[in-house]
Every structure is written in C-alpha cells, then in structure tokens.
C-alpha cells in the first residue's frame, strides 16, 4: 500500500474536524450521512473508516469509476488529512433506521448465496471487516447495493476485489437482485 491512501490511513483522523470537512458531501449523502433510500447515494454513517478512506482515495485517483462524485472529492477540495478526518467522523455516526429495501421476494435465495459466497469476507451478518477494507453491506440501501454488484460483476466499478469479481462473475441479474434484497434487510450489528 502506498500513496495518499496510506497517508490517510496512518493519519489520526479527527471527528470534529471531519464534521466540517464533510459539509460539501452532505448535499448528496445527507447531513446524517444516511444517503438516499432511493439508492442514488449510499448510506455512509457507521461504515468502517478504512473502507471510507479506500473508496474516497480510489474515486479521486480515478481507480473507482464515479463521475458524479469526482469533482467533490478532488485534491483541490480535501487533503489526505481531511479524508482521514471525514472517515473518523462518518464511521462514528449512528446507522440510520430508514434503509431502502428491495422487493423482499429474493431474500430466501439471497440468503443462500450470501452464506455460500459472501459471508467469508463480508461477515455472516454483513458487518464487513475494516482491517481488510471489506465494507459493511448490512443495512445498505437496496438500489445502491444492486447498482454496485452489477458494476462489480460487469467490470464497471474498476476497483473491485478480483476475488469478488471471480465469485459473482457467474451470477445472473436475478441472483444479484436476490443477494441485494437479502443484504439490505440485514440489521447492522452494534460495534
């Protein structure tokens, strides 16, 4: 690991400063970092700080495809230290109650797929693993999950873990809908 991702990870992020640096993000991700239940913007509150740092630095370096967000996370907007601050602030926010849900019809099938292919990394309850940069997928908006798993499968997200691309490469659209349906309704575990 190198570059500003490493700098941000090593920095002692400060939540108070992060609250200020997070302001330009609030227009999309909301003041409580709950995102949008429509799934256009993910819920960030309570996500692992390492995951937030990885995604922010990947997006601004062009490693993760996200043209909507890129102008708001460029190095002319925030420094690596501010990225660490934002992560410290957002990762400690309470996970909101209102999460965009799927149709519910895929939960049973999604549960099987998740147990078989996803739980090893993302945790049985979808809690993720901060030290490995595996995001918490529980209590994420359904539409956002669905969009991203499709991006990952089809190679459009670009910064995906190759292991994950291999695993879900064979998934059908219905499989992805089912697994997203399942993950969205998982209750985020208490830290």
């Amino acid at each position: 690991m190198r570059g500003e991702k490493l700098i941000a990870l090593q920095a002692r992020g400060d939540a108070l400063r992060g609250e200020i640096s997070f302001e330009p993000c609030q227009g999309c991700h909301r003041i409580d970092a709950s995102g949008r239940t429509s799934g256009s913007y993910p819920r960030l509150a309570g996500q692992h700080g390492t995951v937030l740092i990885k995604q922010m630095t990947d997006i601004r370096a062009g490693r993760r495809n996200n043209p909507k967000m890129e102008p708001f996370i460029g190095d002319h907007v925030v420094s690596p230290m501010e990225i660490a601050d934002i992560a410290a602030y957002v990762s400690n926010l309470p996970i909101p109650k209102e999460i965009g849900q799927g149709p519910g019809t895929g939960i049973a099938h999604g549960k099987d797929l998740f147990a078989k292919d996803c739980a090893t990394c993302h945790g049985e309850r979808g809690e993720g693993k901060g030290e490995k940069f595996y995001p918490m997928v529980a209590a994420q908006h359904y539409r956002y999950l669905l969009r991203e798993v499709k991006f990952i499968r089809d190679g459009d997200r670009r910064n995906s873990n190759p292991e994950m691309v291999k695993v879900i490469g064979q998934y059908s659209d219905e499989d992805l809908e089912a697994v997203a349906d399942f993950m969205a309704q998982l209750v985020a575990p208490k830290k």
Binding site: E23, P24, C25, Q26, G27, C28, R30, I31, R36, S38, S40, Y41, P67, K68, M69, P71, F72, G74, H76, V77
Partner: protein, 202 residues
C-alpha cells in the same frame, strides 16, 4: 480661561473616542457614504441586481472584498469601490454588515418556490446535483465559506448561478459552485432562487 480649556477638552474627547471602538464608527461612516447607495445603509438593498448583505457571514464578506480587489472576483462596479477602501477597513466593514438585521421578502411565486424547495432540500439524483442545504444550511443561513442566501434578491441569485455555470465567476471555494451550477437546468435555477428569496426574516 474658557478658551484655554477648549483644546484640552477636545483632546480629552478624542482620547475617549479612541478608547472606544472607533473602527466600528468608521465602518458605519464608510457604509453610509460608500456602500449604502447600492446595498442600503443597513445592508438590505432594495435594488434586485445588488445583493443584500445584512447578516452575511463576516469571513465571507472579507473574502469577497479582497477578491474584488485582487481580481479573483470580477466586477466593474465593485472593483473601483473596493480599491478606495483601506485594508484595515475591511474587517470592521464586514462586522458592521454582519451585525445588521437581514430583511427579505415573501417569494413572489409560491408554486415555483415550492418546486425550488425540492431542489434546495434534495438536489437532483439523476444529474448528480447536490442539495443546497448540505453546505448552505437549513433556511439558507450559511456559514463560513458558504454564504447566507436567505432573503436574497432572486434576480441576483440567478445571475450568480449563471455566472458560475459559465465560468464567469470563479472565486468559489474548491470550484464547488461551478460544478453545482453546471449540473442545474435553468428551470431548477429559477425555482431554487425563488424559494431561497422567500426564506428568512421579512
């Protein structure tokens, strides 16, 4: 004897005045003589093309004044005015207008304002337009580098949005407003400025 005491009395008065915030008094005089023609003596301009600056954040006012002077914000009207001000006048002047009570108006078109409220609170997810509330705060009171917008003339707000979108105004923090304005349709601009104009005290 009386004549002899007069200069001493005057000196005494001067010293009293110096012990008190003479700067605030100066700022009031500058505001009344230089600024009031366009912005109104209390900062509540009644002319649509000149912004209301009463209650505006001090750091924001100072930033704008400095950038009018430095040319980072271009204005044929403001450049010569700011050139006539002394550097040490800027902060007291900003404090003066910050301390004035803002006075706005009701939105003229309630239906348009209602549409604009949606833009202000939610943005537009399809175009990636962030909600204004994220930076400019609930009720558009602003703070720091994000200015107060509540009660502003809608004509002025619209003109600024268009200037940002056209890269004519380029002194926005981190280029954020240029990105935001470019993602707005003209209808969204008209609606949101109508909404903002109706916020705040009347």
């Amino acid at each position: 004897m009386t004549r002899l005491h007069l200069p001493a009395a005057l000196l005494g008065l001067t010293m009293v005045a110096m012990a008190f915030p003479v700067q605030a008094e100066d700022a009031k005089t500058i505001a009344a003589t230089i600024c009031s023609g366009c912005h109104g003596e209390d900062g509540n301009s009644t002319i649509p093309m000149f912004p209301r600056i009463a209650g505006q954040d001090e750091t924001y006012i100072i930033k704008q004044l400095k950038e009018f002077r430095g040319g980072q914000r271009k204005s044929d009207v403001m450049a010569p005015v700011v050139a006539s001000l002394k550097s040490e006048d800027l902060a007291p002047l900003a404090a003066h207008f910050n301390g004035q009570k803002p006075k706005g108006q009701d939105a003229r078109d309630a239906k348009l304002a209602e549409q604009g409220k949606g833009v202000y609170l939610d943005g537009n997810e399809n175009s990636g337009l962030p909600a204004c509330i994220g930076c400019h705060q609930p009720e558009a009171v602003g703070h720091g580098v994000y200015p107060r917008l509540a009660g502003q003339h809608p004509e002025y707000l619209l003109q600024q949005l268009k200037s940002f979108a056209a890269n004519e105004r380029t002194n926005d923090a981190s280029r954020l407003m240029r990105v935001v304005a470019k993602r707005m349709t003209e209808d969204e601009m008209k609606a949101v400025t109508e909404y903002i104009s109706g916020l705040g005290p009347k």
